[in-house]
C-alpha cells in the first residue's frame, strides 16, 4: 500500500496498482472499497458477478496471482502489486478458452450468472491438475454455487475440458 490521499469530499483514499488481465491499472480507491466493486464498478468489468457478498457462493471468483479468490472478501487495495485475471482475461474477441468451449458444448450453464466464477474455479483446478478425478472436481468447485444446472452440466464440462 502506498501513500494516502484525500479526495475533494475529504474521504481518505489509498493508491493501488496492479495488473488486470495483463493491463496495468493504477488508481486511488477508498480503503474500504471491495475488490469486486472496483472491478465491476470503477473498471466496468462486469463479467465478475456479485451474489452473496460474504464469500459463500463464488460468483465473484477471480484469480489473484494464479490463486482462486472471492473478490467480495478482498479489499481493493489488497490487489496491490498482484496479477489479477478475471473472466474477461480468459478469451479474446474470437477465440474462447478451451474450458469455456467445454461449458458451451456440455451445457455447463443456464442463466450464466455463476458461470464466470465457475469457469475461473475450473481453470484454477485444471491448471494444477489437468486430469482431475471426481473427488478433485468436487473439491475444487465446492465454493461455487449454481442454482440452475444441478451441477450435472458443470461436471460434464470440466470432465470434457480435462480430457483435452
Amino acid at each position: 500500500m502506498e501513500a494516502n490521499h484525500q479526495t475533494a469530499g475529504g474521504t481518505e483514499t489509498v493508491s493501488v496498482s496492479f495488473l488486470l488481465n495483463g493491463e496495468h491499472i493504477q488508481l486511488n480507491v477508498s480503503p474500504v472499497m471491495r475488490a469486486v466493486d472496483l472491478i465491476r464498478g470503477e473498471l466496468d468489468q462486469t463479467g465478475t458477478k456479485i451474489s452473496c457478498g460474504i464469500g459463500r457462493c463464488g460468483a465473484c471468483s477471480i484469480l489473484v496471482n494464479g490463486k482462486l479468490a472471492v473478490s467480495c472478501l478482498l479489499l481493493a487495495y489488497q490487489l496491490e502489486g498482484a496479477s489479477v485475471i478475471t473472466i474477461e482475461g480468459l478469451s479474446d474477441q474470437d477465440e474462447v478458452h478451451p474450458i469455456q468451449k467445454a461449458f458451451l458444448e456440455e451445457g455447463g450453464f443456464q442463466c450464466g450468472y455463476c458461470t464466470p466464477g465457475m469457469v475461473m474455479a475450473a481453470k484454477c483446478l485444471l491448471d494444477s491438475n489437468p486430469e482431475p478425478d471426481r473427488q478433485a472436481i468436487q473439491e475444487a468447485l465446492s465454493g461455487n454455487l449454481c442454482r440452475c444446472t444441478g451441477y450435472g452440466g458443470i461436471i460434464r464440462s470440466v470432465q470434457c475440458a480435462s480430457s483435452k
Partner: protein
C-alpha cells in the same frame, strides 16, 4: 455431430453478457429501500429531513410521493409500494433514497427516522385464524379457500382395508436465483421511462408500474431480459416501483441492485404448508377415498397465493383415479414475509404428501408399491383430477413403467458394505399442469418478420432467465421454417419491440413458441414464396425455403437479403390463448406433464446425514425440443428439489428472518448432489395429439422429495413427514428403534 450451442452461450461463458444489474449510465444514481424492522407495526411518523440534508442525497421518497395507486400485486394490488399506516412484514418498504453512491444511500437510510408502535405478530396460520386475532387486511386473515369434492367419501372409507392418516409439513423455500433483484430505471428526454429490470412478464410489470406512477402504459418501456435466474421469484414486482419513482423525481437514471440480505428479506418464497391426508385403500389395493386439508402460510400479501392454493388442490390426488376425493384448502395471511410463485406452484407440496401416503398404504396392506401405483394410475382416456377433459396421453403409465424399471434394477443394490451406513431406494410419480388453467386470462402470441436487412426476426414477449427459451425459439423456428440459425434473429424481453406473449411462467414458454410457429409458419412462408416467385419469375410451386434463402432444384436461388431488399418487411403476427379444457371448471389444467423419480440414498447411522447417491427422472412431456436444455431443466430442477428435501428452510422466528444469507440458508453445492444424474425422456404422444412439446421448467422439481423420503424409509425405517429431513430427526428415529444396534431390521420400523 456438432453440439447445439445456446444462442446466448458465448456471451455467458465469456462474461460479456450484460445482465440488467450490470448496466451503468452516465449521471446514474444509486437507490436504496428502507424496509420495516418490525413484522407488524403501526407507523406513527416518518421523518426524512436529516436524510435529505446529507450531501449526495438527491431524493427521499415516502408514501406521499406515489402519484398513482400505492399498491401492487399481480392479481390484487394489496401490497403498499410505500407503507403509510401499517407494516405487515419485515420487508415492507417505508421509504427509498437515491444518492450519488451506494454508501451515501445506505447512510441516508440510517438518517430516516420512523416511529413505530409494534402490533401483535401473527407468525403462524393457526395464530392468524384464532378468534380475536388482529386482522391483517380488511377482509380478514383468510386470503383464499379452495376445495374439491367427488364421490361419497364416508361410504368409500367404509370399504377400505387400510386407512393412513398423516400430517405433512413443508418448509419455506428461497428461490436463491444467483442474481439478486435489480437493474436501472432511466427517465428519457421525452418524458417516458425505460425500466431495465428482470421479470417474467414485462407487459404485466408495465401495467402495474403505469398504475403506480399514474402514467400511460405506452410511456413505459420494460426491458426484462436476461436474468440470472428467477424460478418464479421475479414474476411479481420487486424493486421496479422504487427505482421508477426515484428516477422520475430526480430526472436521472437510478440503479438498485439488492444485496443478498436485502433480497432474502424482501423477496417472495415458496408457501410453507401443513397438509393432512387421510387415504384409504381396499384389500385389492385400490385407492377408494382421499381426504386432504391444506393450510398454506401465504404471508403478508396476496400476490399469487390464491392460484397456488387452487393448483395444490387440483394436484392433491395426482395421477391416481380415486372414486371419492375431498380436498379443502385455506391460504392464510400472516406476518411471515410473503409467499408466492415458485417453480412447481403448489404441486411440490401436495405431491410430497400424496406419494408419502402411497408408500405408507402399500406397506399397510403388504403390497408392492409399484404394483399399487400401477393398479390405480390414470389411463389415457381418464378425466383430469378435477373431472375435466384433458389432453389425452399415456404419460402417467409411461413414466411409471420407466421408473419402475430403474427401481427394479436399483432396489437390490440397497445393501451397504459399511456397517455404519444404510442404503435405501425410493420412488415417486406425479403429473403437473401447464399454463394458467381454465378461466384465467392466458393469452399468447408471437410475430415473424422478414426485415429489410434480410434477417427473419422471430419475436415473443418472453424472458430468458436461464431456462433456455432462446434455444427453444431458435430450434423450433429453424425446424419449422427450414432455414438456418444464421438466418434468424430472436427478439424477446422488451415491451417496445415485442408482441405480448403472456407470462414466462407455468411451463408455458416452450408450448407457446411451438403453437405460435404452427400458426405463423404457413402464412409467412406463403408470403415469402409469393414474393420470391415474382422476383425470380419462377413458379411458386417449384420454390422452397432452405438455409440462406429460397431454393429451387437443390440450389439456393435467392438469399433472404435479396428477397428483402427494397421492399417493405413481411410481417405476420398471431394471438391466441393457451389451450384449456373444454369443460368449464375453474383453474383446471389441460396440458399435463408427468414424471417418475427414483432416488437412492445412503444414510450415515452415526451422524444422521443423508447422501443422495442416485437420482433418476423419467419424464413424459412430448417431444424434446432441445436436448441440452431439457436435460438441464430436469437435472437442475431435481437438485433444487433435493435441497428442498434435505437442506433448505427459510427459518423465521416471530416474523423475523433467522436465515439471512447463503451461510445460514444452505443450497446444494457440488458435493451434495449425485455425480451422475439420470434423465430419461419418454417422448411418445398419441398420434392425434397436436399440442406439441410441453414445457419442462417445473416438472423436474415435483416428485423428487417424496422419492428421497421413500428411500430414507427404505434405508432406515423412518417415515418422513416433515421437510427438510434433518440429521437429528434421523438419529432420533434410528436410536428410538435401535437400528444402530441391529435390534430391529431397518425396514420394519415406521409408523
Amino acid at each position: 455431430m456438432a453440439k447445439k450451442i445456446r444462442p446466448d452461450g458465448k456471451e455467458k461463458v465469456t462474461g460479456r453478457l450484460k445482465y440488467l444489474t450490470d448496466l451503468a449510465f452516465s449521471n446514474m444514481l444509486y437507490g436504496k429501500i428502507l424496509r420495516s424492522p418490525y413484522p407488524h407495526a403501526r407507523i406513527l411518523s416518518i421523518s426524512t429531513d436529516k436524510a435529505r440534508q446529507l450531501p449526495g442525497v438527491q431524493a427521499v421518497i415516502t408514501h406521499k410521493d406515489v402519484p398513482g395507486l400505492n399498491g401492487f400485486g399481480i392479481v390484487t394490488p394489496d401490497q403498499p409500494v410505500l407503507c403509510k399506516d401499517i407494516v405487515r412484514y419485515v420487508g415492507d418498504a417505508v421509504a427509498a433514497v437515491a444518492a450519488d453512491s451506494v454508501e451515501t444511500a445506505t447512510r441516508a437510510l440510517e438518517l430516516i427516522h420512523v416511529q413505530y408502535a409494534p402490533l401483535p405478530v401473527l407468525d403462524s396460520p393457526e395464530k392468524a385464524l384464532e378468534e380475536g386475532a388482529p386482522l391483517l387486511h380488511p377482509n380478514g386473515n383468510v386470503l383464499h379457500r379452495a376445495g374439491f369434492q367427488k364421490g361419497d367419501i364416508e361410504s368409500e372409507f367404509a370399504k377400505c382395508a387400510a386407512i393412513v392418516e398423516e400430517t405433512y409439513h413443508v418448509p419455506r423455500q428461497l428461490h436463491a436465483y444467483m442474481e439478486t433483484e435489480g437493474g436501472v430505471i432511466v427517465p428519457e428526454k421525452d418524458g417516458s421511462l425505460t425500466v431495465y429490470v428482470g421479470t417474467q412478464h414485462g407487459f404485466k410489470d408495465r401495467f402495474q408500474l403505469a398504475r403506480i406512477l399514474g402514467m400511460p402504459e405506452e410511456h413505459i418501456r420494460v426491458v426484462s431480459s436476461p436474468m440470472g435466474g428467477s424460478f418464479g421469484g421475479k414474476d411479481e414486482l420487486n424493486i421496479q416501483p422504487y427505482g421508477a419513482l426515484l428516477a422520475l423525481s430526480t430526472g436521472k437514471p437510478v440503479k438498485i441492485h439488492q444485496t443478498r440480505q436485502e433480497s432474502i428479506r424482501s423477496s417472495i418464497k415458496r408457501h410453507p404448508m401443513k397438509i393432512t391426508m387421510k387415504t384409504g385403500i381396499d384389500q385389492d389395493g385400490r385407492l377408494r377415498a382421499h381426504q386432504t386439508t391444506i393450510v398454506a402460510d401465504t404471508g403478508a400479501y396476496a400476490t399469487l397465493g390464491p392460484a397456488i392454493l387452487d393448483f395444490a388442490v387440483e394436484h392433491t390426488s395426482g395421477p391416481y383415479m380415486i372414486p371419492a376425493v375431498d380436498t379443502k384448502g385455506i391460504s392464510v395471511f400472516t406476518n411471515n414475509g410473503v409467499s408466492g410463485e415458485f417453480r412447481g406452484f403448489g404441486g411440490n407440496q401436495v405431491t410430497f404428501a400424496l406419494e408419502g401416503q402411497i408408500d405408507r398404504l402399500a406397506a399397510a396392506i403388504g403390497m408392492d408399491s409399484v404394483e399399487m401405483r400401477r393398479l390405480n394410475i390414470r389411463r389415457e382416456h381418464d378425466l383430469g383430477p378435477l373431472g375435466q377433459q384433458i389432453a389425452e396421453t399415456n404419460g402417467a403409465l409411461d413414466v411409471l413403467q420407466s421408473a419402475a424399471a430403474v427401481y427394479a434394477e436399483k432396489k437390490p443394490s440397497s445393501q451397504n458394505q459399511d456397517r455404519w451406513k444404510r442404503t435405501g431406494t425410493g420412488m415417486a410419480i406425479t403429473m403437473h399442469g401447464g399454463g394458467l388453467g381454465f378461466g384465467r386470462m392466458d393469452p399468447a402470441g408471437g410475430r415473424l418478420s422478414l426485415k429489410e436487412d434480410g434477417k427473419i426476426e422471430i419475436s415473443f414477449g418472453f424472458e430468458e432467465a436461464g431456462q433456455g427459451i432462446l434455444a427453444v425459439i431458435e430450434t423450433i423456428t429453424t425446424e419449422q421454417l427450414g432455414c438456418a440459425k444464421e438466418d434468424i434473429s430472436i427478439m424477446i424481453g422488451d415491451t417496445s419491440l415485442v408482441p405480448s406473449s403472456g407470462s414466462t411462467t407455468a411451463s408455458r414458454g416452450t408450448s407457446m413458441v411451438w403453437h405460435s410457429l404452427q400458426r405463423l409458419k404457413k402464412p409467412f412462408l406463403q408470403k415469402l414464396l409469393t414474393r420470391a416467385a415474382r422476383k425470380t419469375g419462377t413458379k411458386e410451386g417449384q420454390l422452397s425455403i432452405g438455409p440462406g434463402g429460397i431454393w429451387e432444384n437443390g440450389e439456393c436461388r435467392l438469399s433472404f437479403r435479396e428477397l428483402a431488399s427494397e421492399q417493405a418487411p413481411i410481417v405476420i403476427s398471431t394471438q391466441f390463448d393457451f389451450p384449456v379444457s373444454p369443460d368449464p371448471i375453474d383453474s383446471a389444467h389441460f396440458l399435463y406433464t408427468y414424471s417418475g423419480v427414483v432416488a437412492q440414498v445412503e444414510v450415515d447411522l452415526l451422524t444422521g446425514r443423508i447422501n443422495v447417491t442416485e437420482l433418476h427422472q423419467s419424464l413424459s412431456a412430448g417431444p424434446v425440443v432441445n436436448e441440452m436444455g431439457y436435460l438441464g431443466q430436469i437435472e437442475g430442477g431435481g437438485v433444487m428439489a433435493l435441497g428442498y428435501t434435505l437442506m433448505e428452510d427459510v427459518i423465521m422466528a416471530d416474523g423475523h428472518y433467522v436465515t439471512e444469507n447463503l451461510d445460514s440458508y444452505l443450497i446444494p453445492g457440488i458435493k451434495d448432489v449425485p455425480f451422475n444424474l439420470q434423465v430419461k425422456a419418454v417422448e411418445s404422444l398419441p398420434a392425434e395429439d397436436d399440442y406439441g412439446p410441453r414445457g419442462v421448467g417445473e416438472i423436474g422439481t415435483i416428485a423428487v422429495a417424496p422419492a428421497i423420503a421413500n428411500a430414507i424409509y427404505d434405508a432406515v425405517g423412518l417415515r418422513v413427514s416433515q421437510l427438510p429431513v434433518k440429521p437429528e430427526t434421523v438419529l432420533k428415529s434410528t436410536e428410538e428403534r435401535g437400528v444402530l444396534h441391529g435390534s430391529q431390521s431397518s425396514n420394519s420400523g415406521g409408523n
